[in-house]
């Protein structure tokens, strides 16, 4: 028995999955403290199913908390980034091209000091400990609470980033330090950006991890806790504290994988309507279509592997305004306060959910409380919602052929039964909790990340060896062998080492056999971090 929980900005969903069957599913509102929402959801599961939740073999949690913090530019730590590489790179300092509002939200400070390596492992300049610590002193004096370190060519030689971490830890043991080579790959700006985002989330990650642990333990569940990552696999809480940025794309990944599980469709557009936003993605062969090029998060260029997802500000909690220029829906939302602010819950704010209830599309809260909403406003708001959704689906299509659309998420009552460009709008059972199901059916992975000597003409054999190692690790972690796919192959030639040395990174992922206990599964091996 696996418990899957999805903590969104508005709703907290939970499911019990036993042997591939959804035993119970529930939806509650996310609470400001996160924990009481989880407790309420699991309590509800217990009541609904009569199941002994303490017998769960694993608790899988997906959360958009971290990416939402960046989107909302709230709850972020004041962060400084120190790049090691002068005199190179000064033409494009750290945080270049970042939106001003995010830089302001992290009180971003950028420093450039000497250090860095060439592609062949030689130093660009020696690291100057005094110069580095002066930058740290200055950053902390100006209010920084978290530090990101990037060094030119750190994926080839991480020495300077590790030395910098050590120097900072000796002087300031309590300041969290994020190293770029542990976050991303070659491509300095993208790797550095991801490290800065991670650094800005460290304090929040510490608090959220503690809250999740206490919520689950207080429910009498001793099973291990895992958090969903971008690629559909999971990490433990220690990793979550250090690498919160790994959760960034897990929301769309979970909802699309959940939609595939629920609908049985493998080629479709998935429209996931939450409380605040709608994410639209494309499912191909049962997997989310990946963004092929660099991905931008809130206008910041990164090199994560992310599903190709379009987000619009439309959700169950979207504010509906009727003015002289007509009716608008969103992009702002009452978020988790929907349970008190929406009209149907006795609040004062007209939301998209109120419109759906007034139109008879949904039975939520007290319908009598929206009886006074003018019919013209309801019709205009529904038309506005239809337009937003049709446009977004249209932008994801790659041909003019109609596509199957699967509507999931708590707000999917807003998706009309017919949509321009859609062959059919599917609404599978348990559509409202697709995210939590996606979390519960999390995959396990095996990763190889180490340096191989590649004798001339033997690249194929070396890659096959690395792939087999990754597959073996995925099997050891509990993946069903027939389900395993290689999802990532990355080679970085290390020209400075003899014997044509290449850093090879291979990741294999596979499904856990349904009903199998994940408690006995080893975590995906993170491999060598050079």
């Amino acid at each position: 028995m696996i418990i899957g929980i999805d903590v969104g900005g508005t709703n907290t969903d939970a499911v019990i999955l036993d042997d591939g069957v959804v035993v119970a599913a529930t939806k509650t509102t996310t609470t400001p403290d996160v924990t009481s929402g989880i407790t309420a959801a699991v309590d509800r599961l217990r009541e609904m199913s009569g199941a002994d939740v303490s017998a769960a073999s694993a608790v899988m949690i997906g959360t958009t908390h971290f990416v939402n913090a960046l989107v909302e530019a709230q709850r972020l730590s004041p962060t400084a980034v120190i790049r090691l590489g002068l005199p190179a790179g000064a033409g494009l300092p750290p945080l270049v091209g970042w939106p001003a509002r995010i830089v302001a939200a992290i009180a971003g400070q950028a420093f450039m000091v000497h250090g860095g390596h060439e592609f062949d492992g030689r130093k660009i300049s020696d690291l100057r400990p005094t110069e580095l610590l002066d930058a740290v002193d200055k950053a902390l004096a100006n209010g920084a609470e978290s530090i990101a370190i990037s060094s030119i060519y750190s994926p080839v030689n991480a020495e300077f980033e590790l030395v910098a971490e050590d120097l900072i830890a000796r002087k300031y043991p309590d300041v969290p330090v994020t190293l770029s080579h542990q976050i991303g790959r070659l491509g300095l700006l993208e790797r550095e950006n991801a490290a800065v985002i991670n650094a800005a989330l460290r304090a929040l990650a510490r608090d959220i991890s503690a809250a999740l642990t206490s919520a689950i333990r207080n429910l009498g569940i001793a099973a291990p806790l895992f958090v969903s990552q971008n690629d559909g696999t999971v990490m433990d809480l220690d990793f979550t504290r250090r690498y919160p940025v790994n959760t960034f794309a897990s929301g769309p990944t979970n909802s699309m994988r959940g939609a595939a599980f629920l609908s049985g469709l493998t080629e479709c557009v998935v429209v996931d309507v939450g409380g605040t936003t709608t994410d639209v993605g494309m499912l191909q062969s049962g997997y989310p279509r990946e963004a092929a090029l660099e991905t931008e998060v809130e206008g910041i260029r990164t090199n994560f592997r992310m599903p190709d997802v379009l987000s619009v500000g439309l959700g169950g909690g979207s504010r509906v305004r009727a003015g002289a220029d007509g009716v608008t829906v969103g992009p702002d939302s009452v978020g988790y306060r929907i349970g008190t602010e929406a009209l149907v819950f006795g609040g004062q704010t007209l939301t998209a959910t109120d419109v759906a209830v007034a139109a008879g599309l949904a039975d939520i809260g007290d319908a009598s409380l929206v009886a006074d909403v003018p019919g013209g406003t309801v019709d205009a708001a529904l038309e506005q919602i239809r337009l937003i959704l049709a446009n977004t689906v249209d932008r994801m299509r790659t041909s003019t052929d109609p596509v199957d659309v699967v509507a999931v998420g708590g707000g999917s009552i807003l998706v009309p039964a017919e949509l321009a460009g859609a062959r059919e709008v599917h609404r599978p059972a348990n559509f409202a909790v697709a995210n939590a199901i996606g979390a519960a059916i999390a995959q396990v992975g095996g990763e190889v990340d180490r340096i191989f000597g590649v004798p001339a003409g033997q690249r194929e054999q070396v890659l096959d060896t690395a792939k087999q190692e990754a597959v073996d690790k995925a099997i050891a972690a509990g993946a069903a062998p027939s389900s395993i796919k290689i999802v990532e192959i990355d080679e970085v030639p290390l020209a400075y080492l003899p014997g044509n040395a290449v850093r090879v990174r291979v990741k294999a992922v596979g499904d856990l056999p349904m009903g199998r206990s994940a408690a006995t599964n080893a975590l995906p091996d993170r491999g060598v971090r050079t």
Binding site: G85, P87, A88, G89, A90, G91, L92, V96, G97, G116, E118, F119, D120, R122, I124, I152, Y153, L186, G187, L188, L189, R289, E290, A292, L293, E294, D308, D394, T398, R459, I486, V487, E488, I489, D490, E491, P493, A495, N500, V502
Partner: protein, 370 residues
Amino acid sequence: MSRRLTEQELVDMAAGAAIMGTGGGGDPLVGRLLVQQALDTGLTVEIIAPEELDDDDFVISTAMMGAPSVVVEKLANGNEAVGSLRTLEAHLGRTADATVPMECGGLNSMIPLLVAARAGIPVVDADGMGRAFPELQMETFGVYGISGSPLVISDEKGHTVLVDTGEDNVRMETFARAVTIQMGGASFIAEYPMSGADLKRTGIPHTLSLASGIGRAIREARAAHADPFAALVDAVKGSIYGYATSLLEGKIIDVERSIVGGFTAGRVTLAPFDDGELLTIEFRNENVVARRGDRVVAVVPDLITVLDLESCTAITTEALRFGQRVRVVAISTPAIMRTPEALRVWGPQAFGIDDPWVPVEDLTALHLPG
């Protein structure tokens, strides 16, 4: 007529230059950001047509030299290329009236814009490669009799080296390459000092405008939900290049690459969606030959570029990854790049390929895809 570079044209030009870079020439984004930084500080870039040059004007070509995979990691400090220009001017005792790209593909379409902004001189709408090529002798300037020397090469530390090999542009390339490797695999150069008359005779005209035109056509097609690839084909049709075609729609199933002698070299293998034959592309900084099975379907100097399937954005060789869904486009080259003397410098044999050069329009007409 001369025009001032706008932020929109900068974005369009970078997108088009990436496609004309045939997978190489470096990631234009880094160059675009450097130029954007210059525009943000109030500097301007004036673009002039080659016809606007006086015959006795003095023009110096500026560029980045080295492995594209280095440039996205060891970022420039922005002073390197202007430093090379100033050092060459001092050596020759004459200041440049304009700078010109040696290569309109990739990052090197952008570097002369940065030099123009910082040095306060115009950039000429022309270049010496009509695409991207891996070596300095591979320029129409050299093909048609101009010496690349003297050349100045600089790094981020402010080190400069002056190379003068007389009329031997191949030796100039090997000397400069050796220095570039010592400088960390990427450097910035000023080369091919020449008159306005020489540039008008030997340069490939209006290639910056073609890059802008391709980028704009794709952007506008996407905004109108029209087919961006069809827009690209149309934009090429209206130029001296004339012909573009799709070699494959499919998925990358293998990427092999290494840094060899200062180049990013390797091979990418692609599987078409229709289960047809595999396509392989060999690259040496740039894509040099595409084969369907054993059969050559496009070969240097014709252009071969891997595009993101949906957005029609170019994917450089360093950004190729397993699993990407792509389209491969081939574009023919203008007559000035296909003369016997030009093909001696950058035909297939110059890249160690035994197959003869056949125009891509003939190769793809004889063997329709699938």
